[in-house]
């Protein structure tokens, strides 16, 4: 019996090829390319202002909160689209199910709102 994975063989080939290229190209450039090191070249940016301080800044936690909330409601949208397309076919059953799902999320929205997670300035 032919393995069901056989159709995926080209993907394996592409993966191997990509890995090979990723290793070969840097190796070839370091070996073949001409190299001239000078102080200006070793700066982070050749144009613009010289860099100030470290890049490892601490971010306010509110960025993460907003990102998380974005994902939650983004996923809701992902669920809403196929439901909206099939709205007629799903009928009242689909309506009720989606109402339940959406109301759960609304409760979540009420919670984060009252909790102050949406306040940027505080």
């Amino acid at each position: 019996m032919e393995s069901p994975l056989v159709p995926y063989l080209p993907i394996l080939a592409v993966l191997l090829l990509a890995g090979l290229m990723a290793m070969a190209i840097p190796a070839l450039t370091t070996r073949l390319g001409p190299r001239s090191v000078n102080p200006i070249k070793s700066e982070s940016f050749e144009c613009g202002n010289p860099t100030l301080g470290t890049a490892r800044q601490r971010f306010a936690v509110k960025f993460y909160v907003v990102a998380l909330l974005f994902i939650v409601f983004d996923v809701e949208a992902v669920f809403l689209y196929p439901w909206a397309v099939n709205f007629r076919a799903l009928g009242w059953f689909g309506y009720g199910t989606m109402l339940m799902f959406a109301s759960t999320l609304v409760m979540g929205l009420v919670y984060i709102w009252k909790k102050g997670a949406l306040e940027w300035e505080s």
């Binding site: 393995s3 069901p4 994975l5 059953f93 409760m107 009252k114």
Partner: protein, 517 residues
């Protein structure tokens, strides 16, 4: 397009989980709208919710076993029993949490909401009969527990525990998912029953694929139940988590993960290769019992000792799982379509093993909740940073200072050690008897010997409580009625179920027969 139609048969079984979820949402909303200073009502609301869900699950246990929601889940006495155990654990855990958080001024609705979300995940996990449902519910329960572990986020310990648990837990979940994906690739279905039907042919066509999938799924579960060598996270996470959370983790999370493991492997194990499955579970059981007990012996930190003891108890449970696959009880390899057709003659033995497992889960739930409850009741917020919050010295002379808590702790420790007339003895008896009946005498002897080693470190705490004078400077926080109530209920259950194990055995017998129907 045909719309699926669902009836009461589909909704009634998932209603306990729905009640738990509704309770959690109510708690979240009440937390932001009712800004009152006292929040004891939240613990009570959580208790009422879990009691309601547990009562409903109890009544569901009398329904005939049937597939739910197009076969994505099943309702049987097995899953109902687990839901009742989970609800019991959640209710007691919420009561323990109330006093613990009050002392730390950290009572918030989110704590109880997360507990209830986790309980809903556990209840549905026990019912799952399909890999995606199983995985989603495993994640619902895991993500809630990750958050609960780091609930008291100040200080290095909870964040270390939360982070470790999250990283390792996510890794284990990925292993499980990868394994499930490979099994799906081999059989073309995610439903356990259909997978079991197709796995025999798939294993012949692609043995490596099926074997990889099988072992990855097994490793994912072994992590969740903290079996050696997947136990490394347990002591650190159990120690760093707030003690009531540890109690719930060792009780509910473990019970749900075990039940899911048993369900998955009862479906797939016999078809895949019963011998290999048997050898692996026996080896896991032996290693887990021995390593868990040996590592618990040198611990002076009682919370850490109980964490290792929970590893050891996973080993006893695994010996019950091994008994399910013992050579005598295993069906012939070919032509497995439904479990009943081939298990036939040995279903009595298998039923006994399942009965033992479920009783053990119930016993361990009440016992470990109680023991962690006492540990939590004795730790003071001020001592947590010093690192001696759980030292044995804290238990010195407890019998004089807190006679009730000392007595309750003694009962729990005797039960953990498996000494009659406690429930721990009956549970060990049932599991080891199932192992002996299945011909696993060696494993049973190892289990009894290693639990004899366990008696040493359990009784050491009793010696400290009753025979040592109190150590200076070891204050204990005020007593809380919620904690005392939960401890009393657990102690009563430990002794009551130990004396009258027959009160649940009818139910357990029916639960043990589920796969024979």
């Amino acid at each position: 397009m045909n719309t699926p139609s669902f009836g009461l048969d589909d909704f009634l079984p998932v209603l306990p989980a729905a009640i738990l979820t509704a309770g959690a949402i109510l708690l979240l909303v009440s937390e932001v709208f009712l800004g009152s200073a006292t929040r004891t009502y939240q613990a009570l609301l959580a208790v009422v919710t879990s009691v309601a869900a547990g009562a409903l699950a109890f009544s569901n246990a009398f329904l005939p076993a049937h597939a739910v929601l197009q076969g994505y889940a099943v309702l049987d006495p097995f899953s109902s029993f687990t839901t009742v155990v989970v609800c019991l654990g959640t209710g007691l855990g919420a009561l323990l949490g109330a006093g613990f958080l009050k002392h730390r001024n950290a009572e918030r609705g989110e704590f109880y909401a997360l507990l209830l979300f986790a309980a809903a995940g556990m209840s549905l996990l026990a019912m799952s009969a399909e890999f995606i449902t199983l995985f989603v519910n495993l994640e619902v329960l895991s993500v809630s527990t990750y958050a609960l572990t780091a609930y008291l986020r100040r200080g290095p310990r909870p964040s270390e525990a939360g982070f470790k648990y999250f990283i390792l837990g996510a890794f284990a979940a990925a292993l499980l998912l990868y394994g499930a994906a490979l099994l799906y690739g081999a059989t073309g279905t995610t439903h356990l029953s259909e997978m079991a039907a197709g796995l025999g042919a798939a294993a012949k066509a692609q043995p490596a694929l099926v074997a990889c999938g099988f072992f990855l799924v097994g490793a994912g579960f072994a992590f969740k139940v903290a079996a050696v060598p997947f136990h490394m996270w347990t002591p650190d996470v159990y120690e760093g988590a707030p003690t009531p959370v540890t109690a719930v983790m060792s009780a509910g999370v473990k019970a749900a993960a075990f039940v899911a493991l048993v369900r998955v492997f009862l479906f797939l194990g016999p078809v895949f290769d019963p011998e290999v499955v048997f050898v692996i579970f026996s080896a896991l059981a032996a290693a887990t019992m021995v390593v868990g007990n040996l590592l618990a012996i040198p611990q002076r930190n009682v919370k850490r000792m109980l964490a290792y003891s929970s590893v050891a108890h996973a080993g006893y449970l695994l010996s019950g799982v091994a008994a399910l696959f013992a050579p005598a009880t295993v069906a012939p390899k070919s032509g497995v379509l439904s479990a009943s057709a081939t298990w036939g003659a040995d279903s009595a033995l298998r039923g006994e093993a399942l009965k033992g497992l479920l009783f053990y889960l119930l016993a361990y739930t009440v016992t470990s909740l109680g023991s962690f409850g006492v540990v939590g009741a004795l730790e003071r917020r001020e001592d947590e940073t010093k690192g001696n919050a759980w030292d044995l010295d804290r238990f010195s002379g407890l019998a004089q200072r807190r006679p009730f808590q000392a007595a309750a702790m003694a009962v729990f420790l005797l039960s953990l050690g498996g000494i009659p007339p406690t429930v721990g003895f009956m549970a060990k008896l049932l599991v080891f008897r199932a192992a002996v009946d299945a011909g696993l005498v060696g494993l049973a002897v190892l289990g009894v010997l290693s639990s004899a080693a366990g008696v040493y470190y359990y009784l050491r705490v009793v010696v400290y409580m009753y025979m040592r004078p109190a150590v200076e400077g070891m204050q204990t926080p005020e007593r809380q009625w919620t904690t005392e109530f939960a401890l009393a209920a657990s102690a009563l259950a430990v002794v009551g179920l130990g004396l009258l194990p027959g009160s649940v055995s009818d139910w357990l017998s029916r639960a043990g027969l589920i796969f024979g129907q």
